[in-house]
Amino acid sequence: MAGKGARKLFIKGLWEDNPVFRQILGICSALAVTNLLENTLIMGLSLIFVTSLSNVTVSILRQVTPSRIRMMVQTLIIASYVIIVDILLKAYLPDISEALGPYVGLIITNCIIMGRCEAFARSNPVWPSFLDGLASGLGYALVLLTVAFFRELLGFGSVFNIPVLPAEWTRWTIMVMPPGAFFMLGIVIWLVRSLGPKPAPKADARG
Protein backbone atom coordinates (compact mmCIF):
# COMPACT_ATOMS: atom_id res chain seq x y z
CA MET A 1 0.00 0.00 0.00
CA ALA A 2 1.42 3.36 -0.99
CA GLY A 3 2.91 5.55 1.67
CA LYS A 4 0.34 8.25 1.12
CA GLY A 5 -2.54 5.90 1.75
CA ALA A 6 -0.89 4.68 4.91
CA ARG A 7 -0.39 8.20 6.15
CA LYS A 8 -4.02 9.02 5.49
CA LEU A 9 -5.09 6.02 7.50
CA PHE A 10 -2.89 7.09 10.33
CA ILE A 11 -4.18 10.62 10.46
CA LYS A 12 -7.69 9.27 10.37
CA GLY A 13 -7.05 7.04 13.35
CA LEU A 14 -5.28 9.76 15.26
CA TRP A 15 -7.59 12.67 14.66
CA GLU A 16 -10.72 12.42 12.53
CA ASP A 17 -11.84 9.05 13.77
CA ASN A 18 -9.96 9.01 17.01
CA PRO A 19 -11.49 6.17 18.95
CA VAL A 20 -11.63 8.03 22.24
CA PHE A 21 -12.75 11.54 21.58
CA ARG A 22 -14.61 11.05 18.31
CA GLN A 23 -16.09 7.61 18.62
CA ILE A 24 -16.18 7.62 22.42
CA LEU A 25 -14.84 4.11 22.78
CA GLY A 26 -12.49 2.50 25.26
CA ILE A 27 -13.44 4.89 28.02
CA CYS A 28 -13.27 2.47 30.94
CA SER A 29 -9.54 2.04 30.85
CA ALA A 30 -9.02 5.64 29.77
CA LEU A 31 -10.32 6.62 33.16
CA ALA A 32 -8.88 3.86 35.27
CA VAL A 33 -5.17 3.77 34.51
CA THR A 34 -4.51 7.38 33.63
CA ASN A 35 -3.46 8.57 37.04
CA LEU A 36 0.13 7.55 36.35
CA LEU A 37 1.96 8.05 33.05
CA GLU A 38 4.00 4.87 33.41
CA ASN A 39 0.94 2.63 33.69
CA THR A 40 -0.79 4.50 30.89
CA LEU A 41 2.14 3.91 28.57
CA ILE A 42 2.14 0.17 29.15
CA MET A 43 -1.63 0.01 28.79
CA GLY A 44 -1.42 1.96 25.53
CA LEU A 45 1.30 -0.29 24.13
CA SER A 46 -0.66 -3.38 25.14
CA LEU A 47 -3.73 -2.09 23.39
CA ILE A 48 -1.81 -1.23 20.21
CA PHE A 49 -0.39 -4.76 20.25
CA VAL A 50 -3.77 -6.44 20.71
CA THR A 51 -5.64 -4.21 18.26
CA SER A 52 -3.17 -4.58 15.40
CA LEU A 53 -2.74 -8.31 15.81
CA SER A 54 -6.47 -8.92 16.22
CA ASN A 55 -7.14 -6.88 13.11
CA VAL A 56 -4.56 -8.87 11.17
CA THR A 57 -5.94 -12.21 12.33
CA VAL A 58 -9.56 -11.26 11.65
CA SER A 59 -8.50 -10.03 8.24
CA ILE A 60 -6.65 -13.25 7.42
CA LEU A 61 -9.69 -15.28 8.38
CA ARG A 62 -12.24 -12.95 6.88
CA GLN A 63 -13.12 -15.05 3.88
CA VAL A 64 -13.52 -18.28 5.80
CA THR A 65 -15.41 -17.07 8.83
CA PRO A 66 -19.17 -17.62 8.69
CA SER A 67 -20.96 -14.34 9.23
CA ARG A 68 -23.23 -15.64 11.97
CA ILE A 69 -20.49 -16.47 14.40
CA ARG A 70 -18.08 -13.70 13.54
CA MET A 71 -18.56 -11.90 16.86
CA MET A 72 -17.70 -15.01 18.83
CA VAL A 73 -14.66 -15.58 16.63
CA GLN A 74 -13.53 -12.00 17.13
CA THR A 75 -13.97 -12.32 20.88
CA LEU A 76 -11.94 -15.52 20.90
CA ILE A 77 -9.13 -13.93 18.93
CA ILE A 78 -9.06 -10.78 21.06
CA ALA A 79 -9.21 -12.71 24.31
CA SER A 80 -6.33 -14.95 23.23
CA TYR A 81 -4.06 -12.01 22.43
CA VAL A 82 -4.97 -10.34 25.70
CA ILE A 83 -4.09 -13.47 27.63
CA ILE A 84 -0.76 -13.57 25.84
CA VAL A 85 -0.09 -9.95 26.77
CA ASP A 86 -1.05 -10.75 30.37
CA ILE A 87 1.32 -13.71 30.53
CA LEU A 88 4.18 -11.74 28.98
CA LEU A 89 3.68 -8.86 31.38
CA LYS A 90 3.64 -11.20 34.35
CA ALA A 91 6.82 -12.84 33.14
CA TYR A 92 8.85 -9.80 32.10
CA LEU A 93 7.34 -6.77 33.83
CA PRO A 94 5.81 -8.17 37.03
CA ASP A 95 5.61 -4.87 38.88
CA ILE A 96 3.71 -3.16 36.11
CA SER A 97 1.50 -6.20 35.66
CA GLU A 98 0.46 -5.84 39.29
CA ALA A 99 -0.16 -2.13 38.96
CA LEU A 100 -2.43 -2.62 35.95
CA GLY A 101 -4.22 -5.45 37.69
CA PRO A 102 -7.55 -6.50 36.19
CA TYR A 103 -7.48 -3.71 33.61
CA VAL A 104 -5.28 -5.79 31.33
CA GLY A 105 -8.02 -8.40 31.22
CA LEU A 106 -10.55 -5.71 30.54
CA ILE A 107 -8.83 -4.90 27.25
CA ILE A 108 -11.01 -7.72 25.90
CA THR A 109 -14.16 -5.72 26.40
CA ASN A 110 -12.51 -2.54 25.15
CA CYS A 111 -14.98 -1.51 22.48
CA ILE A 112 -12.22 -0.11 20.26
CA ILE A 113 -10.81 -3.49 19.31
CA MET A 114 -14.13 -5.12 18.57
CA GLY A 115 -15.17 -1.94 16.80
CA ARG A 116 -12.19 -1.97 14.44
CA CYS A 117 -12.56 -5.68 13.74
CA GLU A 118 -16.19 -5.16 12.80
CA ALA A 119 -15.81 -1.91 10.92
CA PHE A 120 -12.58 -2.52 9.08
CA ALA A 121 -10.68 -5.77 9.46
CA ARG A 122 -13.40 -8.14 8.39
CA SER A 123 -13.71 -6.54 4.99
CA ASN A 124 -10.21 -5.38 4.23
CA PRO A 125 -6.88 -6.99 3.34
CA VAL A 126 -4.21 -7.73 5.88
CA TRP A 127 -1.77 -4.86 5.57
CA PRO A 128 -4.37 -2.03 5.70
CA SER A 129 -6.03 -3.82 8.61
CA PHE A 130 -2.76 -3.86 10.45
CA LEU A 131 -2.24 -0.15 9.85
CA ASP A 132 -5.79 0.60 10.88
CA GLY A 133 -5.32 -1.27 14.15
CA LEU A 134 -2.03 0.47 14.71
CA ALA A 135 -3.53 3.89 14.03
CA SER A 136 -6.55 3.37 16.29
CA GLY A 137 -4.36 2.03 19.06
CA LEU A 138 -2.01 4.97 18.67
CA GLY A 139 -4.89 7.44 18.71
CA TYR A 140 -6.13 5.86 21.92
CA ALA A 141 -2.69 5.84 23.51
CA LEU A 142 -2.00 9.48 22.70
CA VAL A 143 -5.28 10.67 24.23
CA LEU A 144 -4.66 8.61 27.33
CA LEU A 145 -1.14 9.93 27.67
CA THR A 146 -2.44 13.48 27.45
CA VAL A 147 -5.04 12.87 30.15
CA ALA A 148 -2.48 11.06 32.29
CA PHE A 149 0.05 13.85 31.89
CA PHE A 150 -2.30 16.38 33.45
CA ARG A 151 -3.61 14.04 36.11
CA GLU A 152 -0.19 12.98 37.29
CA LEU A 153 1.23 16.49 37.08
CA LEU A 154 -1.56 18.15 39.01
CA GLY A 155 -2.26 15.27 41.36
CA PHE A 156 1.26 14.15 42.22
CA GLY A 157 3.44 16.91 40.89
CA SER A 158 5.43 14.39 38.88
CA VAL A 159 5.86 13.18 35.32
CA PHE A 160 6.72 9.48 34.87
CA ASN A 161 7.42 9.36 38.60
CA ILE A 162 10.00 12.13 38.38
CA PRO A 163 8.98 15.00 40.67
CA VAL A 164 8.61 18.10 38.57
CA LEU A 165 6.64 20.56 40.63
CA PRO A 166 8.18 22.03 43.79
CA ALA A 167 7.26 20.33 47.05
CA GLU A 168 5.54 23.45 48.34
CA TRP A 169 2.91 23.31 45.62
CA THR A 170 -0.31 21.82 46.99
CA ARG A 171 -1.24 18.67 45.16
CA TRP A 172 -4.67 18.50 43.56
CA THR A 173 -5.22 14.99 44.82
CA ILE A 174 -8.72 14.95 43.40
CA MET A 175 -7.13 14.71 39.97
CA VAL A 176 -5.84 11.21 40.64
CA MET A 177 -9.12 10.06 42.11
CA PRO A 178 -12.13 9.01 40.02
CA PRO A 179 -13.81 12.43 39.76
CA GLY A 180 -10.61 13.90 38.36
CA ALA A 181 -10.58 11.25 35.66
CA PHE A 182 -14.11 12.08 34.55
CA PHE A 183 -13.49 15.82 34.55
CA MET A 184 -10.20 15.56 32.70
CA LEU A 185 -11.57 13.37 29.94
CA GLY A 186 -14.68 15.52 29.61
CA ILE A 187 -12.51 18.60 29.24
CA VAL A 188 -10.27 16.94 26.65
CA ILE A 189 -13.32 15.97 24.59
CA TRP A 190 -14.70 19.47 24.93
CA LEU A 191 -11.44 21.06 23.79
CA VAL A 192 -10.98 18.75 20.86
CA ARG A 193 -14.51 19.17 19.65
CA SER A 194 -14.22 22.95 19.89
CA LEU A 195 -11.14 22.86 17.74
CA GLY A 196 -13.20 21.75 14.79
CA PRO A 197 -16.23 19.68 13.95
CA LYS A 198 -15.68 16.27 12.39
CA PRO A 199 -15.09 16.73 8.64
CA ALA A 200 -18.01 15.66 6.42
CA PRO A 201 -17.72 11.99 5.36
CA LYS A 202 -16.13 11.65 1.95
CA ALA A 203 -17.85 9.82 -0.89
CA ASP A 204 -15.16 7.13 -1.16
CA ALA A 205 -15.44 5.98 2.42
CA ARG A 206 -13.06 3.11 3.01
CA GLY A 207 -14.07 -0.04 4.86
Partner: protein
Protein backbone atom coordinates in the same frame (compact mmCIF):
# COMPACT_ATOMS: atom_id res chain seq x y z
CA UNK B 1 -28.84 -25.17 6.32
CA UNK B 2 -27.46 -28.09 8.27
CA UNK B 3 -24.29 -28.00 6.24
CA UNK B 4 -23.75 -24.37 7.14
CA UNK B 5 -24.48 -24.98 10.82
CA UNK B 6 -22.14 -27.91 10.98
CA UNK B 7 -19.42 -25.90 9.31
CA UNK B 8 -19.87 -23.05 11.80
CA UNK B 9 -19.61 -25.37 14.75
CA UNK B 10 -16.61 -27.20 13.35
CA UNK B 11 -14.91 -23.94 12.46
CA UNK B 12 -15.47 -22.55 15.93
CA UNK B 13 -14.15 -25.68 17.57
CA UNK B 14 -11.09 -25.73 15.36
CA UNK B 15 -10.34 -22.08 16.00
CA UNK B 16 -10.81 -22.51 19.74
CA UNK B 17 -8.46 -25.45 19.69
CA UNK B 18 -5.91 -23.49 17.71
CA UNK B 19 -5.95 -20.40 19.90
CA UNK B 20 -6.01 -22.22 23.21
CA UNK B 21 -3.03 -24.25 22.03
CA UNK B 22 -1.19 -21.04 21.18
CA UNK B 23 -1.98 -19.57 24.58
CA UNK B 24 -1.00 -22.78 26.34
CA UNK B 25 2.29 -22.71 24.46
CA UNK B 26 3.08 -19.16 25.49
CA UNK B 27 2.13 -20.02 29.06
CA UNK B 28 4.22 -23.16 29.10
CA UNK B 29 7.29 -21.32 27.91
CA UNK B 30 6.90 -18.61 30.52
CA UNK B 31 5.44 -20.53 33.44
CA UNK B 32 8.73 -21.21 35.10
CA UNK B 33 9.81 -17.64 34.74
CA UNK B 34 6.62 -16.38 36.34
CA UNK B 35 7.07 -18.71 39.29
CA UNK B 36 10.70 -17.70 39.59
CA UNK B 37 9.66 -14.06 39.64
CA UNK B 38 7.23 -14.73 42.47
CA UNK B 39 9.81 -16.64 44.51
CA UNK B 40 12.49 -14.06 43.89
CA UNK B 41 10.12 -11.30 44.91
CA UNK B 42 9.38 -13.01 48.20
CA UNK B 43 13.04 -13.58 48.91
CA UNK B 44 13.95 -10.00 48.07
CA UNK B 45 11.24 -8.68 50.36
CA UNK B 46 12.20 -10.95 53.24
CA UNK B 47 15.82 -9.85 52.98
CA UNK B 48 14.76 -6.24 52.72
CA UNK B 49 12.57 -6.16 55.83
CA UNK B 50 15.18 -8.05 57.82
CA UNK B 51 17.80 -5.47 56.82
CA UNK B 52 20.10 -8.08 55.32
CA UNK B 53 22.17 -6.32 52.68
CA UNK B 54 22.29 -7.80 49.17
CA UNK B 55 25.43 -6.76 47.22
CA UNK B 56 23.84 -7.13 43.78
CA UNK B 57 20.06 -6.87 44.14
CA UNK B 58 19.44 -6.87 40.40
CA UNK B 59 21.08 -10.25 40.00
CA UNK B 60 18.70 -13.08 40.91
CA UNK B 61 21.48 -15.54 41.66
CA UNK B 62 22.99 -13.20 44.20
CA UNK B 63 19.64 -12.72 45.94
CA UNK B 64 19.08 -16.47 46.15
CA UNK B 65 22.63 -16.95 47.45
CA UNK B 66 22.24 -14.39 50.22
CA UNK B 67 18.82 -15.76 51.12
CA UNK B 68 20.02 -19.31 51.48
CA UNK B 69 23.03 -18.15 53.40
CA UNK B 70 21.43 -15.81 55.93
CA UNK B 71 17.79 -16.83 56.32
CA UNK B 72 16.33 -19.79 58.14
CA UNK B 73 12.67 -20.75 58.08
CA UNK B 74 10.66 -21.89 61.08
CA UNK B 75 7.09 -23.07 60.64
CA UNK B 76 4.59 -21.81 63.18
CA UNK B 77 0.99 -22.99 62.88
CA UNK B 78 1.54 -23.65 59.20
CA UNK B 79 2.95 -20.17 58.56
CA UNK B 80 6.63 -19.55 57.87
CA UNK B 81 8.67 -17.32 60.13
CA UNK B 82 11.85 -16.10 58.47
CA UNK B 83 14.81 -15.68 60.79
CA UNK B 84 17.84 -13.70 59.72
CA UNK B 85 21.17 -14.89 61.00
CA UNK B 86 23.48 -12.21 62.25
CA UNK B 87 26.70 -11.46 60.36
CA UNK B 88 28.72 -13.89 62.44
CA UNK B 89 26.03 -16.51 61.86
CA UNK B 90 25.89 -17.27 65.56
CA UNK B 91 22.71 -15.54 66.51
CA UNK B 92 19.39 -14.37 65.15
CA UNK B 93 19.26 -10.80 64.01
CA UNK B 94 15.53 -10.51 63.40
CA UNK B 95 12.23 -12.27 62.70
CA UNK B 96 10.01 -11.69 59.68
CA UNK B 97 6.44 -12.83 59.30
CA UNK B 98 3.53 -12.37 56.95
CA UNK B 99 0.80 -9.88 57.48
CA UNK B 100 -2.47 -9.66 55.60
CA UNK B 101 -5.58 -7.62 55.69
CA UNK B 102 -8.50 -6.40 53.69
CA UNK B 103 -7.65 -3.31 51.68
CA UNK B 104 -10.03 -1.03 49.87
CA UNK B 105 -9.95 -2.95 46.59
CA UNK B 106 -8.79 -6.36 47.67
CA UNK B 107 -6.61 -8.25 50.14
CA UNK B 108 -3.22 -6.75 50.96
CA UNK B 109 -0.39 -9.19 51.62
CA UNK B 110 2.83 -8.04 53.19
CA UNK B 111 5.77 -8.87 55.43
CA UNK B 112 6.94 -7.37 58.66
CA UNK B 113 10.19 -7.84 60.56
CA UNK B 114 11.06 -7.17 64.19
CA UNK B 115 14.41 -7.10 65.90
CA UNK B 116 15.89 -10.00 67.79
CA UNK B 117 14.84 -8.67 71.18
CA UNK B 118 11.38 -7.78 69.88
CA UNK B 119 11.89 -4.16 70.87
CA UNK B 120 11.99 -2.53 67.44
CA UNK B 121 10.42 -2.84 64.02
CA UNK B 122 13.02 -3.61 61.38
CA UNK B 123 10.77 -2.87 58.46
CA UNK B 124 7.59 -3.58 56.53
CA UNK B 125 7.03 -4.44 52.89
CA UNK B 126 4.10 -5.34 50.67
CA UNK B 127 3.93 -8.45 48.50
CA UNK B 128 0.78 -7.63 46.64
CA UNK B 129 -2.33 -5.54 46.80
CA UNK B 130 -4.99 -4.23 44.48
CA UNK B 131 -5.05 -0.66 45.73
CA UNK B 132 -5.40 2.30 43.42
CA UNK B 133 -2.16 2.86 41.52
CA UNK B 134 -0.64 6.13 42.58
CA UNK B 135 -2.83 6.48 45.64
CA UNK B 136 -3.29 3.50 47.93
CA UNK B 137 -0.68 1.80 45.78
CA UNK B 138 1.94 4.11 47.22
CA UNK B 139 2.13 2.06 50.39
CA UNK B 140 4.76 0.02 48.54
CA UNK B 141 6.99 3.05 48.21
CA UNK B 142 10.01 3.48 50.44
CA UNK B 143 8.84 6.79 51.80
CA UNK B 144 5.76 5.25 53.37
CA UNK B 145 7.38 2.02 54.48
CA UNK B 146 10.38 3.69 56.07
CA UNK B 147 8.11 5.27 58.65
CA UNK B 148 7.93 1.90 60.36
CA UNK B 149 11.66 1.28 60.28
CA UNK B 150 13.29 1.49 63.67
CA UNK B 151 10.11 2.30 65.53
CA UNK B 152 10.11 1.07 69.11
CA UNK B 153 7.79 -1.66 70.31
CA UNK B 154 6.63 -1.60 73.91
CA UNK B 155 7.67 -4.65 75.93
CA UNK B 156 4.33 -5.23 77.66
CA UNK B 157 2.18 -7.55 75.65
CA UNK B 158 -1.41 -6.52 76.22
CA UNK B 159 -4.08 -8.19 74.19
CA UNK B 160 -5.11 -6.36 71.01
CA UNK B 161 -2.65 -3.55 71.60
CA UNK B 162 -2.53 -0.67 69.18
CA UNK B 163 1.12 -0.51 68.27
CA UNK B 164 0.73 1.98 65.48
CA UNK B 165 -1.79 4.62 64.57
CA UNK B 166 -2.25 6.21 61.18
CA UNK B 167 -2.75 9.96 61.12
CA UNK B 168 -3.41 12.56 58.43
CA UNK B 169 -0.20 13.82 56.92
CA UNK B 170 1.85 16.35 58.85
CA UNK B 171 -0.02 15.88 62.11
CA UNK B 172 2.20 13.09 63.40
CA UNK B 173 3.61 13.68 66.86
CA UNK B 174 4.74 10.53 68.61
CA UNK B 175 6.99 7.74 67.30
CA UNK B 176 4.24 5.21 66.89
CA UNK B 177 2.16 7.49 64.67
CA UNK B 178 2.33 7.00 60.91
CA UNK B 179 1.60 9.52 58.16
CA UNK B 180 -1.34 8.39 56.11
CA UNK B 181 -1.34 8.83 52.34
CA UNK B 182 -3.45 11.80 51.33
CA UNK B 183 -6.42 10.65 49.28
CA UNK B 184 -5.91 7.04 50.36
CA UNK B 185 -7.47 7.01 53.79
CA UNK B 186 -9.05 3.59 53.33
CA UNK B 187 -5.80 1.95 52.33
CA UNK B 188 -3.84 3.72 55.08
CA UNK B 189 -6.33 2.54 57.69
CA UNK B 190 -6.13 -0.97 56.29
CA UNK B 191 -2.36 -0.92 56.76
CA UNK B 192 -2.84 0.20 60.35
CA UNK B 193 -5.13 -2.75 61.04
CA UNK B 194 -2.80 -5.17 59.26
CA UNK B 195 0.28 -4.09 61.15
CA UNK B 196 -1.39 -4.15 64.55
CA UNK B 197 -3.09 -7.46 63.80
CA UNK B 198 0.15 -9.13 62.76
CA UNK B 199 2.05 -7.83 65.77
CA UNK B 200 -0.67 -8.96 68.13
CA UNK B 201 -0.69 -12.39 66.53
CA UNK B 202 3.03 -13.06 66.31
CA UNK B 203 4.78 -11.23 69.16
CA UNK B 204 3.69 -13.65 71.92
CA UNK B 205 4.89 -16.63 69.84
CA UNK B 206 8.12 -14.91 68.94
CA UNK B 207 8.75 -14.17 72.63
CA UNK B 208 8.45 -17.88 73.39
CA UNK B 209 10.59 -18.80 70.39
CA UNK B 210 13.21 -16.31 71.48
CA UNK B 211 13.38 -17.86 74.95
CA UNK B 212 13.86 -21.32 73.43
CA UNK B 213 16.62 -20.06 71.17
CA UNK B 214 18.38 -18.18 73.94
CA UNK B 215 18.58 -21.39 75.90
CA UNK B 216 20.30 -23.03 72.96
CA UNK B 217 22.97 -20.39 72.27
CA UNK B 218 25.67 -19.96 74.93
Amino acid sequence: MIGKRAFSVAYMLLLTLGFTSAVTLVYGVNEERIERNARLKLQKIVLDVLNVPVPFPSQPLNVIEVFEDRVRIHILNGQPIYMALSEDRRDIQGYAFRMSGAGVWGPIHGMMAVSRDLDRVLGVAFLDHSETPGLGGRISEEGFRNQFKGQPLPPARIKDATYFRVHPQATVRSPNEIDAITGATGTSNAVERMVNGALNRYLPFLAKLRLEQEELTP
